[in-house]
């Protein structure tokens, strides 16, 4: 789950990370009032779950409250990577001497959270990694012991020469690590971590991504979810416990398991079709999930044929069959449906489908070929 910059900053402030004040506005007038309160130059920053905000015109410097209002109006009208900007963060502009990058990422290979720091901060860290990898230090942390003082110090010395700044940075590393663990993050970033002309070390931007699997354990973090900042179809799917990603094609796919779902999409393409979506109904399915999946798929006007590909292991195929029957009774389908079911309780599932006038196949290639054909307006099932 993504959270906004201002929310991540609140979490880091609670751990003691030095961060300039800031407040959030949803209107240009609100931004103007905040700017007036701070006085001087402020930064107006789009709060949206997309990278590259600066390049998209979502981060602007305003020298007066009037200019803050004007710029906030422009930013609040933006769509960045398809997502509407509905909030701006207004914060006093900092007096920046140097910019560094500090991040913690959960790493598959080392199976640990890895600190990644670079004195070349402020800009795109991917660019630093590609062009000057020697400017990045990576340090895996054993979560059973946590970040040790010597490690924080090593990270600090990679960024600064001045011992005072090294100590200040080390303290921030500890605080960032604490926040990362406490909030159940898969990523936590401060970019940039700046030094001011006065020699202070301050975090100017913050980003946190929370592991969805942690949300049951952290209701306070789960409550930070901003559904208005996400794609509506994906919100609907998540609330129904489904994983859904909308695509551009016309074959609506309902599959159990991410790997088989991707393989099914690949096969749709292999036979000359285009998948309309990725939809994984997951394991331990119940009929209700299938009803919701069909609802989401049939709301997409591009969908010309629906393809079910279910291989039952922990998923019981009779649950899926019952779901298809219930859903189509509630909302009769306007497009053809191709069903492929095999695995756990297959005999019961086939019986349920046949009794309700559906035919089903147990061969994946055959089912996909048929769905692609039907989506192109080929012969009816």
């Amino acid at each position: 789950m993504n959270i906004h910059e201002y929310q991540a900053k609140d979490i880091l402030r609670r751990e003691g990370v030095p961060i300039p004040p800031g407040d959030v506005a949803t209107t240009p007038e609100g931004a103007e009032a905040i700017a007036r309160q701070y006085g001087g130059t402020v930064v107006v920053k789009a709060q949206v779950h997309a990278g590259g905000r600066g390049k998209a015109g979502g981060v602007k410097l305003a020298k007066s409250p009037g200019e803050a209002k004007e710029l906030a109006a422009k930013i609040l009208a933006l769509h960045i990577k398809g997502l509407p900007v509905q909030k701006v963060l207004v914060t006093p502009a900092a007096d920046i001497a140097t910019e560094a990058y500090v991040g913690i990422i959960l790493d598959r290979a080392s199976k640990k959270p890895v600190f990644m720091v670079s004195p070349a901060g402020g800009i795109d860290i991917e660019e630093v990694a590609a062009k000057t990898p020697e400017k990045i230090l990576k340090l895996p942390i054993d979560t059973r012991y946590g970040l040790q003082p010597y490690q924080a110090s090593r990270l600090g010395f990679f960024l600064f020469d001045d011992v005072k700044k090294v100590r200040a940075a080390g303290k921030i590393m500890q605080q960032l690590y604490t926040a990362f663990m406490k909030s159940g993050c898969s990523l936590a970033e401060i970019n940039p971590l700046v030094t001011t002309a006065a020699g202070d070390v301050v975090a100017l931007d913050a980003k946190m991504v929370i592991d969805d699997n942690e949300l049951d354990r952290h209701p306070d973090i789960a409550a930070l979810r901003d559904e208005s900042a996400e794609a509506p179809s994906e919100v609907q799917a998540r609330n129904a416990n489904l994983t859904f990603i909308k695509l551009e094609g016309n074959v609506g796919c309902v599959v159990n398991g991410a790997g088989l779902a991707m393989a099914t999409m690949d096969l749709v393409k292999y036979y000359g079709g285009e998948p309309a979506n990725f939809l994984d109904i997951g394991g331990s399915s119940n009929p209700e999930k299938v009803v919701n999946a069909l609802k989401i798929i049939t709301e997409d006007p591009n969908v010309k044929a629906i393809l079910f590909n279910i291989f039952g292991g922990i998923t019981r195929t009779d649950d899926v069959a019952n779901g298809i029957v219930t859903a189509t009774k509630q909302n009769p389908l306007k497009v053809p449906i191709v069903i492929r079911l095999t695995g756990t309780n297959e005999e019961i599932a086939m019986k349920i489908l046949q009794e309700n006038g559906f035919s089903a196949s147990s061969d994946m290639d055959e089912a996909v070929k048929k769905a692609v054909e039907l989506a192109k307006g080929g012969k009816a099932a």
């Binding site: 959270p113 059973r144 942690e214 393989a263 393409k269 922990i314």
Partner: protein, 289 residues
């Protein structure tokens, strides 16, 4: 012969009284798996299906039965503790089926299991099956048949798909292992490939990977440098939009974006057979055996 699991494996089911645990415990019993104990705290002294004694702790279950394998069906927030409990009780093969285990929990669990000398498969995996001998997990037994193709996969249902097609074509399996798709899991492709290479009953290996990470590229390197047996690979997600699970910073650490094209190129460079669709495995494996 087989890898990790055979007819002598003695199995504990952690979470045997839950919805998924009880359903699949029955299926495993029907398949012939030697289930010697169940564990559900507070239900010790009860018996499952009039056949399997239930204990309050894994330590009690191991002390009473000498079990060497455990399969875990407990809810995600308790899964890490269940794995630690099994490893601490001396269980040598721990299979965690549970989906949705917090990844940070696994950063503590993984090194502990290693230090105990146990093998963890999963979490978020379908488990493994040695056809005709034993199954631990949720892979449907009737789609498998004994034979000499080793199967290893990051996905659950995609494993079933390929195994089903192999069986229909008369290609039996030595052992099928679903290693799970979570960012941190106990057993990776290389662990399984090394075991298949050493298993005299395995003549060829079918391997199903996915986009994301570098496990498949590492596996391809292993096939190239350490294996004599033929390996055929497939990557799911050739048409998927860029993965969302681990933003770009994860790719910087691994030095790879983990795309399907990158992984397929690694397979080709290693001289592996490349299946373009699941049904291609049959011909590619037949041609190499």
């Amino acid at each position: 012969m087989s890898i990790f699991l055979d007819k002598n494996s003695t199995v504990i089911v952690q979470g045997i009284t839950g919805r998924d645990g009880s359903f699949h415990a029955k299926q495993m019993l029907e398949y012939g798996t030697k289930i010697v104990a169940g564990v559900t705290p507070g239900k010790g002294t009860q018996t499952f299906e009039n056949a399997v004694p239930i204990f309050n702790t894994v330590a009690d279950a191991v002390a009473a039965t000498g079990a060497n394998t455990s399969v875990i069906y407990v809810p995600p927030m308790f899964a890490a503790d269940a794995i630690l409990e099994a490893a601490d009780a001396g269980v040598k093969l721990i299979v965690a089926i549970t989906e949705g285990v917090p990844v940070l929990d696994m950063t503590r669990v993984y090194p502990f299991v290693k230090e105990k000398g146990a093998r963890l498969i999963g979490p978020n995996c379908p488990g493994l099956i040695t056809p005709g001998q034993s199954k631990v997990g949720i892979i449907p037994g009737r789609i498998c048949t004994p034979g000499s193709v080793g199967v290893v996969s990051r996905s659950g249902t995609l494993t079933y798909e390929v195994v089903y097609q192999l069986t229909r074509a008369g290609l039996g399996q030595s052992t099928c292992v679903g290693i799970g798709g979570d960012p941190i899991n106990g057993t990776n492709f290389i662990d399984c490939l090394a075991a298949f290479e050493a298993d005299p009953n395995t003549k060829a290996v079918a391997m199903m990977g996915e986009i994301g990470g570098t496990d498949e590229q590492d596996a391809a390197e292993f096939v190239k440098t350490k294996m004599k047996k033929p390996v055929v690979g497939f990557i799911a997600g050739q048409t998927a939009p860029p993965g969302r699970r681990m933003g770009h910073a994860g790719a910087i650490i691994s030095g790879s974006a983990g795309t399907a094209a990158e992984k397929i190129a690694a397979f080709e460079a290693a001289g592996m057979g490349v299946a373009k669709r699941p049904s291609d495995f049959v011909e590619l494996i037949k041609a190499r055996m």
